[in-house]
Symmetry: C2
Subunit: 238 residues, 2 copies
């Protein structure tokens, strides 16, 4: 019989409970470290909403329907598709998502929440803070909720990472028959973000979760911008 948990190659994922509403200037690492006992090698997933609020990325929303639309256009470098109220844009980070990542839910009335300016840097800030405050060496993923082409339903993906691989490259490894593996760059950061969403829940509004038991080989410097954002020249859908 297999016993659950990291000892058998398993993972434990748990939410950081009782977090307060995050306010501009809050130190997320402190809010997290006060509420959960972290261990070396843990991966802390923090939502974009919490990061953006802490970094003061709230802006006034002009009244009327055009207020939000103006913000979306301002945050976009390119519009890929537009249908009715839905706009799929490319942000200056290179993310392709709805409404340039501008978000009105779980935000104070009359305000809108923008993506962090540099989500990898945001992740490093939380990682460095947890190292300083709790004395632990952890990975950090900043997550956001994206739709997908061809599929219904959103999932959480990684928009920033620190101390945990964004993409794990298995090229050069072989399959169980000894042949080289193909298509083996795995975006573990997106899988970690999605796994954390399962315990955070959109309507519960929990801003952070911990994944314990990840492969220690994945704990390294990393960047979503450098590893996950597909360069235009390699992109078949832009």
């Amino acid at each position: 019989m297999t016993l659950p948990g990291p000892a058998s190659g398993g993972l434990v994922i748990f939410p950081v409970l009782d977090m307060p509403e995050v306010e501009p200037g809050d130190v997320l690492a402190a809010l997290i470290a006060e509420r959960v006992e972290l261990a070396d090698g843990d991966v802390v997933v923090v939502t974009q909403k919490a990061v953006s609020k802490a970094e003061g990325r709230l802006v006034p929303l002009n009244p009327g329907a055009t207020g939000g639309r103006q913000l979306v256009d301002d945050e976009a470098v390119r519009v890929l598709r537009r249908r009715d109220d839905l706009v799929i844009t490319e942000t200056r980070h290179g993310f392709v998502c709805a409404n340039s990542g501008v978000d009105l839910s779980n935000v104070p009335l009359g305000q809108a929440c923008l993506l962090p300016i540099d989500p990898d840097r945001s992740a490093r800030r939380v990682r460095d803070g947890l190292r300083a405050l709790a004395g632990v060496e952890v990975g950090v993923v900043v997550s956001d909720t994206f739709g997908r082409a061809w599929r219904v339903g959103v999932t959480d993906v990684a928009i920033g990472t620190a101390g945990i691989a964004a993409v794990v490259d298995l090229r050069g490894q072989t399959d169980t028959q000894g042949r080289p593996l193909v298509a083996t760059e795995v975006c573990v950061a997106d899988e970690l973000a999605g796994a954390a969403e399962l315990v955070m829940g959109k309507s519960r509004g929990l801003p952070a979760a911990v994944v314990r038991g990840v492969d220690p080989a994945w704990l390294r410097e990393s960047s979503v911008a450098a590893e996950v954002v597909r360069p235009h020249g390699q992109d078949l859908f832009r």
Copy 2:
């Protein structure tokens, strides 16, 4: 302090270890039930490769470069993009993926592995088998490895489900400020598949994992075909 585990709203994910190479005619539910003690409400994630092998979806691969290409074309209802050896197709299931899901890795030499004919039915078969053999009421996700437009790195997603919601619809619920949530159909089946991949690992070739602690409200009849495959009329990228 938050204690990890389902008691605090957490999840435990663990692989099913010591599975044999799956052969045509194998009963996956039996192979799993012999190796892991399941509980009501668990979600069992099984890879497409294991399901396809058990269902005998292995076909001879004609020698030469064109053998694989012919299979990919046969399995496609539409080619979306083609560049060098990479073909993005739509399968008859409505999945948009590389090479129509035809796979050569971890498959006997000289053969290719096709997607299950009806992955939701495959999931139901495993679910029903586990109910009969182990007396447990579990959800089942059949997972496969897909690339993504605009992002580097593959992730595991759901191609079939049984007994666990594919998409959880939070519309009608409100955010923490009491306003209606938008963009709140969450594809939990894809998040479960990705989470399981983190413990299965591509090169380790593990065919199954268990997720324990999912929201009991998600345990219901479901279908990837009906819930996740985006109808053409709603699709902005096809």
